[in-house]
Amino acid sequence: MPGKLKAKIVAGRHLPVMDRASDLTDAFVEVKFGNTTFKTDVYPKSLNPQWNSEWFKFEVDDEDLQDEPLQITVLDHDTYSANDAIGKVYIDIDPLLCSEAATVISGWLPIYDTIHGIRGEINVLVKVDLFNDLNRFRQSSCGVKFFCTTSIPRCYRAIMVHGFVEELVVNEDPEYQWIDRIRTPRASNEARQRLIFLMSGELQRKIGLKVLEMGGNAVVGYLQCFDLEGESGLVVRAIGTACTLEKISSTLPATATHPSNSSPSKDMKEPGFGEEAPGVPLSSGPPTPLRAQTFSSFSPSKSYSRQSSSSDTELSLTPKTVGIFLFPSTPALESESSPLPSAHLPHHLWPGMASRSTTPPPLRLSQSDTAILRKSVSFSEELLLAASGMGSGGSAGKEGGPLKALLRQQTQSALEQREYPFFTLAAFPPGFLLHVGGVVSARSVKLLDRIHNPALGNTRSYKLLDWNSFTADEPETRDAWWEEIRQEIKSHAKALGCHAVVGYSESTSICEEVCILSASGTAAILSSRFMQDGPLDTEHRLSRQPLCVFSTGSERVEGDMGSSASLGFEEVVSPGCGFCHIPYDELNIPFPAQLTYCYCCRRYKVPDVLFTTIDLPTEANVTGKGCLIQARLCRTKKKAQGEGNATVISNLLPFLEYELHTQLMNKLKLRGMNALFGLRIQISVGETMLLGLASATGVYLTALPSPGGIQIAGKTPSDITYEQHISNMQKKINDTIAKNKELYEINPPEVVEEIIGSPIPEPRQRSRLFRSQSESSDEVSELDLSHGKKDAFVLEIDDTDAVEDIHALLTDSPTPAGFYSCNTEIMPGIQNWTSAIQMFTSVRVFRLNANLTNQGLNKIFSDLCENLLKSLYFKLRSMVPCCLCHLNFTVAIPEDELIQVAVTAVAMSFDKEQLLENGKQSGEKTLIKAITENDEQLQFNLELNAETSAPNPLSSPKGLSEVGSHLSARASSVDYSSFADRCSSWIEQLKLKAHTIRRGSVKTTSSMEKASPLPEGRSRSLRSNRSYSGSSVAVVKMTPLSFIPGAKIIKYLGIINMFFIRETTSLREEGGVSGFLHTFIAEVFAMVRAHVAALGGNAVVSYSMKECVFMENPNKNQAQCLINVSGDAVMFVRESELESTSVQTQSATTHTSNGAEGT
């Protein structure tokens, strides 16, 4: 009994009238945990009952504490008939199990009913007394912290990043149980809600166990998803990054070495992290089966996308995909093929990879059991057979038994190895991310098992008719599916010469029995230096090394990695461009790409375009501002069933992805930009169509070459009007590019090119796809000097597709004045946010006419997204100047001919002054800013020194190295790169340091007045804060970002993960579908806010709406909706409030800082 849960029911308010006669309610409460139920007395005849109950105590296992929610049901007492339920409250008590999170849940929580929505509120008090369980074999993982945030949480620093954790649990969906035929939808939805609460609790516990196994204490970037597979069940799966985190606290001497992150709004990263030793992300795994089936590595290659000009050679990629997409349609075969750790294709197909690979592949091969090897080879033959002759899976069925065992065995071994060098993090401490290769993604089409299909059932390795066996096997099948995809991703990353995948995420799209599994991430090389010489205290280091996931192989591998890193990349010149340098071997480029020397440091090669799924690193050198770029695509598909359907989809997928990619590339160029961050491609499948939506934030990375223009080439030059048409279009495009460059303030320093000459390698690969760009290059060069030199991007309009593409390009309307938009955490070029933020969710469902062509569909879908954006801009016009950050689009096809688009984002205002000034001053501004930050930073640092009294081994030498040689001292440069937020060049950094040193002892008063744009914002925030205080309901801010501008997060109170279903049988009366959903979303917000407030928080960060499944039946006047939201509950304080308290400490610090400077 290692835990005692205590709950007290205080009072209720705003209860609904349950007794029509008296217009009152006789309410009482049932408190249930596990199988124990307590009841309060009936409080007669009141809508605002005061129960003030005793403490209900539950003595339970901590395992249950993690799995089960506390279930509170409010009922109306009825003497003669059954008591009527008013509604329920589910309380996740997980936050109470962690010592650093919340200690008590106390407050007004909305009473929720699936039919009536919120029906009043209940005031409860919940506490947990936890006795520590040190049993090695325990099944609980209390105390492991969970964060949705995809960066190191604000008030923590990472001691160790262990790596990828994943888990999934499967259950029968209550809606599809036999009992559902006799019970009410309400009861069924209740059961569903409860089940999902339970399952996510269990999942979290299991992930927690894995984290503990790895030696970590937290999961960052926790991403939990539901797959409502219908009759085949309900899957809850989660991925995350295991870390060892330590709380940064100014009172703890232990943290003295770490300059605390005192200004979260400006500084995205945790500077302290740089000193620590995260794991070396070594890919010591075996060579992965290299099936090209779902290969869709979004490499930064120009020519890949140039296929638009009717190339044939490059298309060889796609047929490969088509061929092998076939076999996933037979589930039995699928499971066989999935987790084969031994290669069934010789890895030397990829010479580039072999040379890069850190683990000698032959070694691995010899290790693997020969029998397995043989077997696997034979499987692959079978697979090929199956692939060629569709549906000939009979032979595979016979082998069901042994295969299953094999599968188990392999799954197990895979579990033990745990070798995915994946990170769900999207933002990293400076210096952690060394190089970025490009986006890697994998998709696979699976057929969900159907219980009532005996024909298919025969080929299975198990019978689904027996539910028990089903539940036993199911997770393994799903695990295997994901395993396969992950292997794929890993091999793609390797092909890009990278040993890790960052910004990793997984998703599914389900339509009937077909399921598309997708995974994507960014191939990257992470710093090993953090492992080697990061920590200065050896004690820590010793304890850490064995825990490191990536060093599971051997010391040798580690050393190997370390040296290779130090050879190539360690003395990277500027952190502002280092991550752009190619990680792969120039001579063995895995895909055709154009390389040039880095425009920042001129020493390393960079690609011409860079696509990533991560956030823009704060230290990156960016020219101008960024903007949201979306590629939207809609493709019709024939209606089909089962395997046929899966085949059709598999065939369509590569084309879809390819076209999305082309669109992205075109739009990027149209904006004069050269890199995409936060790329998220969503493919949604419906009965008769496929939807693809790619969103990313485009920026101009200073290190990358200026993108060429877009040239249009006609096919039939004979026609004069046609020529004219083309030149008109060309002109339009050129005008748009010029306009966009102005709009986004993209004016890269041209001089660099002239002075340094051209280190660009001469034998540049000119793609054969190019038509001459000479005809129009004259007028182009007027617009942009760099145009002539760069290879332009050619669009040939010989078919309707291209015309459509061009139209699509030009119909994207620019954001209205005063607005910026991005789907990443922050917008480059905007820093001084005010505290005004507005999070919102917008949902639209569009009904299509039947018989639309692809083109028509595309236009409609594109317009739908554009109009939605326009509406958002209009709605939020009062916040101008503002930026819509983290614009997260989710598309779905809820029914035939329906498209649903849901957007969640946050609008953040910023101060205008900065906007008025343009590019040139921004450096200066950042400099000032950086100095102020540096001051704060320095003082904080030293202040802590003073407290610890022991001379800090780290900070003082650091100071020295700064003054002396900044080029060699990588450590210091890493540190400062974060302070000098967006310092645009190395020279400026130099200046900055000089400033810092000189000003180190001066005092902060000056620094405070220099940070001119802030005080206004702060005072505003203060005002709003004060005005709020009058209200009796605490204000809870919500944001999809990991920070709150102008505020410092001082405590993480736990993860919020809520799941609600709402149904109605009186749709018209509730204002139709819009009215129904509007109310429901508002209710979900309200419940999230209430639970956060009850935990003692005043904000939710990293909020996201993961699921919004809406179904309607207007004929029956019914509708149902299911929403899943998550986020991190936090407590923040305004920086303005912090200042007053820090003044004293600051003055105390000045003294010490003088001393420190002397060293």
């Binding site: 308010r13 705003h14 007004w108 909305p110 919120i118 509120e121 209205p816 004045a817 507005q838 999070m839 919102f840 969710t841 917008s842 949902v843 639209r844 469902v845 569009f846 009904r847 299509l848 006419n849 409609i860 109009n867 326009k870 509406s871 958002l872 801009y873 209009f874 709605k875 939020l876 016009r877 329906l898 649903q900 709003s1024 005005s1027 709020y1028 009058g1030 209200s1031 009796s1032 309901v1033 204000v1035 809870v1036 801010k1037 919500m1038 204002g1071 579908v1073 819009s1074 009215g1075 959903l1077 509007h1078 109310t1079 979303i1081 508002a1082 209710e1083 917000f1085 309200a1086 419940m1087 806010r1089 209430a1090 809406f1110």
Partner: protein, 357 residues
Amino acid sequence: MSVELDVFVGNTTIMDKEVYQLWLNGYTVNDAVKVRIEGGVMEECEASAEVLLSDTMDQYRTFQMCERLLHHPAKLANQLLFQIPPDRQAMLIERYYAFDDSFVREVLGKKLSKGTKKDLDDVSTKTGITLKSCRRQFDNFKRVFKVVEELKGPLVENIRQHFLLPDQLARDYAAIVFFANNRFETGKKKLHYLTFQDFAFCAGQLINNWTLGAVDNIMEDMDVDLDKEFLQELKDLKILITDKDLLDQHKSLVCTALRGKTNVFNEMEANFKNLSRGLVNIAAKLINAKDVRDFFIDLVEKFIEPCRSDKWTSIDVNLYLTHYTNSVHILDTFKHHAVWTRYMGVIKSCILRMYHD
């Protein structure tokens, strides 16, 4: 092809003041969109009519969802569904409870019953205010009335506390409640020239001086009803007109005081007895509920009209009433000074307020 569903929900509920007003005025969504387009929002924000329609629909939905809460404004502050900044909340409430003077003139003093509500379409055609808006205003009156009817303590304060209204609006509502409760006749043609604010002022005077709450601060009773005891005592004032001596004395005192000070002295002198009789009779009859209803008609018929036909200026009226009131205290045989002061104070300020074209 159509947008089937279109919602926007902000963590902080976004409400456009302009659209709110249009909603309150009872415009349909389409009409509201037209008004907005004419207002030029589109050019300002580079929006299309489609965007405007979507926004208007959304706002209308939000307001409809909020309406339930606005019926109990105190709930708005501690509800959890909408996160609305307090200043916004105050705006919502104030505007929701705001009313059109032309509308309130139509129902002022009427019983706030279903019957009256049925006649609202007539009111709507007459005033040009949409039926929807009329209903809202009527329901507001009724709701406030029902809540404060049974409450003890000062009327204005009760309204302000229960409905979180700003002071002026709370006073106006107090007047409406007071009028509805005492069923003062305000619809007669002779009273048409009076504005709601005139009546509201008078109601304020009556509430402050003639109700039970006005004299003792016991808070036991409410402000809605007139002080019965006082009304009873008013009968005693009859002596001023029934006693011939007193009447003559009173007249001579007033005349002496006013001689040479006014241009309408002769008319005043000639009419004194009539006017005095009129005012005292009003006082004496107030004990009857029916006569209370005719209070304002009587004031106009018995005093204001005669004065107006003699072309008195309001300065004349003021002068006359001042001396008329004060002279009584010099009369030796008159004993009811307190009642007289209480009565005449209100009468004087009411008449002065009502004495205009």
